[in-house]
């Protein structure tokens, strides 16, 4: 019997989750603190008939991942802030041409080379808005090693079924944290694939508007001989500058995430019934918040936690509803940056409750005590 309990690092769990979900191509470039993802992929992919390649730079690895996915193979890359910036142009291509792919971004201190070995959460906005133009993208934010495993599986599945790039956004703490993971906690299920084009070759339109807004993808060799371009394209796949066709083309790629929102959104709440103060946090900051909530509840303070697991698109209805249900008079957003997540929280709450901030940019994780102190002050 195969042992399903494993001691894994977050980065390792991402790699193993991707392979479990059927990822068979990885292209990467060394960068701290994500390199372990590439190292595990280099070791494991050849054992399952997959391909690993270390490319000449971050841009090339993103290009190779998109190229492999165009060929009909599930593909992933991993990086950290500066490398994530370099990947953004090709990431935009994947958004525009709707090529499934997964990008693991392990956040470190920035800007620039910053503090490469220290944790941060400074890419919350880069993950959403890093590439240019109007685009749809999904960002998942695991807060444990088990979740790094299960959310990477979900990333591959969402990317495939929705034809959209998915970012798995870890912070350095989660990436390098070792925890015991039960691999069997993710139930066995049939492998999830994109819908490949079938049917007549004649008159085939690679970007036809379907009911679910996700056009089946032509696979080279299947006889469709389609064109794929980063230029704004008509349903036939070729460039267009006809105003209404261009509008419809871009709008469909963003609408599809709205259409499938229920499948995409994921969040967790802890002690959110009857809270005077609701904490909103992701990643390791949410782990600290979880402990702070326990400590403060033990003191008799009414405090709860809302944790977006899907960071983008932000589970906005769920947050508004949680705030309303709990009766929270304010929310507190602890994050390892100067305030990014709080901007979205403020937008979503639109004055329903003030959003208080707690920020660290010193390369140290936010501690439960940091949060508890700030919460006590707020509840005074």
């Amino acid at each position: 019997m195969t042992a399903t309990l494993r001691n894994l690092e977050g980065n390792e769990a991402c790699a193993l989750g991707a392979i479990r979900a059927g990822c068979r191509f990885f292209a990467g470039y060394p960068i701290t603190p994500s390199s372990e993802v590439a190292e595990v992929m280099a070791r494991e992919l050849p054992r399952v008939g997959g391909t690993f390649i270390q490319m000449e730079d971050e841009i090339a690895s993103m290009g190779a991942v998109i190229g492999a996915s165009m060929g009909g193979v599930k593909a992933m890359t991993a990086t950290s802030g500066p490398g994530f910036s370099l990947k953004q142009e090709n990431l935009g291509y994947a958004c525009g041409a709707e090529i499934p792919c997964v990008i693991v971004n392990v956040m470190r201190g920035g800007p620039s080379t910053g503090m490469p070995t220290r944790p941060a959460q400074g890419d919350i906005m880069q993950a959403r808005w890093g590439t240019h133009g109007d685009h749809a993208i999904i960002v998942l934010a695991p807060a444990s090693v088990a979740e790094a495993y299960s959310e990477t599986i979900r990333a591959v599945e969402l990317s495939e079924t929705l034809r959209v790039p998915v970012v798995v956004l870890l912070d350095e703490v989660i990436g390098h944290l070792t925890e015991t993971v039960d691999l069997a906690a993710v139930p066995e299920a049939p492998e999830v694939w994109r819908s490949f084009a079938t049917g007549p070759r004649e008159g085939f339109q690679p970007y036809a508007v379907t009911d679910d807004l996700i056009p089946p993808m032509p696979r080279p060799g299947d006889g469709y001989r389609a064109h794929c371009t980063g230029l704004t394209h008509a349903p036939g796949g070729f460039p267009t500058q006809v105003p209404e066709v261009a509008t419809a083309a871009v709008t469909r790629t963003t609408d599809k995430l709205v259409h499938h929102r229920e499948r995409i959104e994921s969040w967790q709440v802890q002690d959110a019934e009857d809270s005077d103060l609701l904490i909103v946090a992701i990643g390791i900051s949410a782990r600290a918040a979880r402990q702070a909530v326990r400590d403060l509840r033990a003191e008799g303070l009414k405090i709860g936690l809302f944790r977006p697991v899907t960071l983008w698109p932000f589970p906005e209805e769920a947050l508004r509803e949680t705030v309303a249900r709990s009766g929270a008079k304010a929310v507190l957003v602890p994050e390892m940056n100067q305030g990014q997540l709080v901007l979205e929280v403020e937008r979503v709450l639109a004055g329903r409750a003030p959003a208080l901030r707690l920020n660290r940019i010193d390369g140290q994780p936010i501690t439960p005590d940091d949060i508890a102190d700030r919460a006590r002050e707020a509840l005074k």
């Binding site: 190229g67 193979v73 794929c228």
Partner: protein, 282 residues
């Protein structure tokens, strides 16, 4: 090599997406000749269109992929070799051809060219060199000849030029060749050899940009520009007498280098075959 098709007769219309005609190239542009030579070579090599992937970058050359009746991918500026690398590794059963330009391949994409050549993955890279950024309005490129006027060299170009073939050769490309658009049949035959080579093949096509580069430098119409290019050719037999990294006054054409280094994809798969099925951590 024979000048006529041996198997079935070549008809360019069989390879061109008729619904994408007329093409957008300027009158006199050499890229159309290169495109014809390429699909002619593909035809004579018996390449199956369903198994053909053409990957292009950005620029005038980048738009050519849309005209070929195959699986075509118009990617990002300078990066078609990276997309092609992923595609070929994921799908070794496909014939992968890259169409790129001098700016795409040697400036923004220069890093990818040297590593693709070093890696020696089985991709045929066709670089159309018209010495200019035509699509963006005529800016200087890494191959713009000395003294030439462009929109960003109003005093004349004072930068030395890249010899793309010397670069690809030095980086280890399995097959390297150069031809001018004036010699269509020689170009076709060079491309056939490139397609047949199991490894990274690099072919530089000396094309002409009549409308922008020619006009700006008073080089005459397309026939004059093509004749001038032809006169700059250096006989193939003298190929080893000029060996400097920067372009000499006379260019060498034909097959410039070839080697039988292992093809990367096959080498990876051979090594992986020993591990396949072995119990790992995944």
């Amino acid at each position: 090599m024979k000048d006529t098709a041996d198997a079935t007769a070549f008809d360019v219309n069989d390879w061109i997406r008729q619904d994408q005609m007329p093409h957008f190239l300027c009158p006199g542009c050499g890229h159309g000749i290169a495109l014809r030579a390429l699909v002619w070579a593909l035809h004579e090599q018996g390449i199956d269109k369903d198994k053909l992937a053409v990957v292009s970058g950005i620029g005038c050359s980048g738009r050519l992929s849309a005209y070929i009746d195959a699986n075509t991918f118009h990617t990002t500026h300078g990066r078609p070799l990276t997309f092609a690398t992923g595609l070929k590794l994921a799908r070794p059963d496909l014939t992968v051809v890259v169409i790129t330009g001098d700016g795409d391949c040697l400036a923004i994409g220069g890093n990818h060219l040297i590593h693709a050549a070093r890696r020696n993955l089985d991709i045929t890279c066709v670089m159309l060199n018209n010495e200019i950024y035509g699509m963006t309005g005529g800016q200087v490129s890494p191959t713009t000849s000395g003294g030439r006027y462009t929109s960003t060299t109003p005093m004349g170009n004072s930068e030395p030029t890249f010899d793309a073939c010397a670069l690809a050769t030095a980086a280890g490309a399995g097959f390297v060749g150069r031809e001018v658009t004036m010699q269509v049949l020689a170009l076709r035959d060079l491309l056939k050899q490139a397609l047949a080579h199991p490894g990274f093949s690099f072919v530089e096509v000396l094309s002409d940009c009549t409308e922008i580069y020619g006009r700006k430098n008073d080089l005459g119409a397309s026939p004059e520009m093509m004749l001038a290019k032809k006169s700059e050719m250096r006989p193939f037999a003298y190929r080893n007498t000029v060996d400097v990294p920067f372009r000499p006054n006379h260019l060498r054409t034909g097959v410039i280098a070839r080697n039988d280094r292992p093809e990367y994809g096959a080498a990876y798969r051979t090594m992986a075959a020993g591990l396949h099925g072995e119990k790992g951590d995944a």
